[in-house]
Structure formats: structure tokens, C-alpha cells
Amino acid sequence: MGNCLKGSSTDDLSPLRNAETTSETTTSEQPWIPYREVNPGGPIFYPSPGISCSVNQLSEEDQVKIAKKLGFIQHLPTGTYDGCKKNRECVICMIEFIVGDPVRYLPCLHIYHKKCIDAWLMRSFTCPSCMEPVDAALLTSYETK
């Protein structure tokens, strides 16, 4: 928290870009070109941060998208569960919150375990409960930068 939007995006991007540059110079049999052709602009579901997927398989455009998502997620407020009776369980893992659990708040005021919602947001920028876009306006301004 506390990073400015632009700063975190640049930080996330540079290692990804470097990795791709390296792969291009070292080998030509990487499967990343056919992979790109299979998904021409269609919806792509990104692996969660826990699932490792070779950076070489992603186009530069995809890497930028992932970096933007990571940067964006970091700017959603976090906190610890305070025992609030209104939200008893995280609907993603269906496990009851325990006071002190790290949680993240969405603009629609739904709360989730931080690790649960972060994995979901990598796939979709909507609230899993109410389907409200997490922050369409901010995301748009971010993408046109």
C-alpha cells in the first residue's frame, strides 16, 4: 500500500519485459507464438498468482495486462477482520472470518479474505457477490495511459 499507481506498474512491468527479451534472444522454439495465435483477442483467463505459468508463453500485451491488474489490485483497501456481524464468512472459500484475518474491501463494500479475492480479481474485475465492476472508471483511465 501507498505506492503510487504509476510507480507500481513500472515496477511490475520491468522484470516481465526483461524475461521476454531474454527468451527471444536465447531460443526460437518457445511455444509462445502459436499460443498467441490461439487466443486472438479473446477472453483470457490468467493463472492465479499461486499457479506458475511461464512468462514466455504470454505476449507482451498480456504481460502488460497482468502487471496492470497486479498494480490495480494493490490499490484496493485492505484491513483486518474486526468481528463485524454483517460479514460472517468469505463467500469465496466459504470459511467464517476470524478476527484478525487479512481482508480486502471492494468499492461495493463486500469483503473477502485478501488471498481469496486477489486470486479472483486476476481473472475478473467484478465483485463475486454482486457482479459490480470493481472500478471501471479507474481501470479505464489506467488503460489509456
Binding site: 477472453p43 479472483w120 481473472r123 463475486p128
Partner: protein, 199 residues
Amino acid sequence: MANIAAQRIKREFKEVIKSEEVAKCAIKLELIDDNYSELKGEIAGPPDTPYEGGNFVLEIKVPETYPFNPPKVKFLTKIWHPNISSVTGAICLDILKDQWAAAMTLRTVLLSLQALMAAAEPDDPQDAVVAKQYKENPEMFNSTARHWTNVYAGGPNKNPDFDQKIQRLTDMGVMSHDARVALSTYNWELERATEAIFT
């Protein structure tokens, strides 16, 4: 299987068992394996539809990435419906694809499927032949769907006329399911169905 997926299915399973829909026999859920990755679902055909009185069995496969990705669901019971393949049982429903949300559960999936049976979306078909009949000849669609419900899902409404036409083809050595598919496809015109089978 990833821990979160198994944990959730365990909890969802309990939720379904306690639900009022199970009490009303509208839905049912059974475990197939011990690690919560495969289940069998059952839904009752909704009232006032051609599926009424039938019992439809579903195969449910829970991916490792559940609930971040939707469960893979298909009909095991053969069904005549625009959004369900009459051949494979594959389902065309947005929440099982890109409109999935992590807060949805097996219970809401089963209820959504029941709703889909009551309100087909022929403009977004899974089975083009069925969808065409649904749009062009709704009465024929209703009788055909009711007949399939009777034969495959234990529905109560027999159709002697359809059964007789199928008998004519099985007498010629055609398998009864193949005869039913051909006749359903050609609006129960015996001549056209026969021609389609033998050419």
C-alpha cells in the same frame, strides 16, 4: 485437489443437503468420489414445461481451480432442449462460462439449470436442430421434448403416435435412439426420417 476447492465443495454439499429444494425433491446432489472432485446432480423437470415429471441426471466435475473457475457440468440424461446438446448433453449457459462468479455454488448452478429448462434461449443455441424447431414449430418442439422426457427421464406422458413411428423404423433394424433422433429432427415425418437414415 487443491485444498480450497475440496473445502468449499464439502461445505456446499452440506448446504445443498439442508436446502429446501432438496426437501421439495427439486434438486439432489451426490458425491461420486472421496476427494470431492466429481459429483452427480439431479434436477426435477420444472412444472408447466415439457420436462415436468422427468428426472434429469447431471455429471459435475469440479476443477482444481474451483471456485475461481466454474464446475464442468453436462446432462447425462438425454434431453431435447435448444441450449443442451441432444448428442453429448453439453450445456450452453453463460454462468458455466464467462459469467461465472466465485460466489455461485453448486446449488445455484442446479437452480439456474432448472430455470434454463423452463426458459430456453434459442438465439444462443447449443443444439441448432432443436433451436430451429423451437422457433419455427413450438408445438412440435413441445411434443418432442415431452416424448424425450417420457423415454429418458421417466416422464409420465406417453405419445403413442411417436412410439408407433419409432416402432416402424426399429422393425427395419434401426436402433430406437437413432430412429428417435431422425424423427425428432424431421418433425416426425416418417418418410424424411427414413430417407435420412438410409442415405
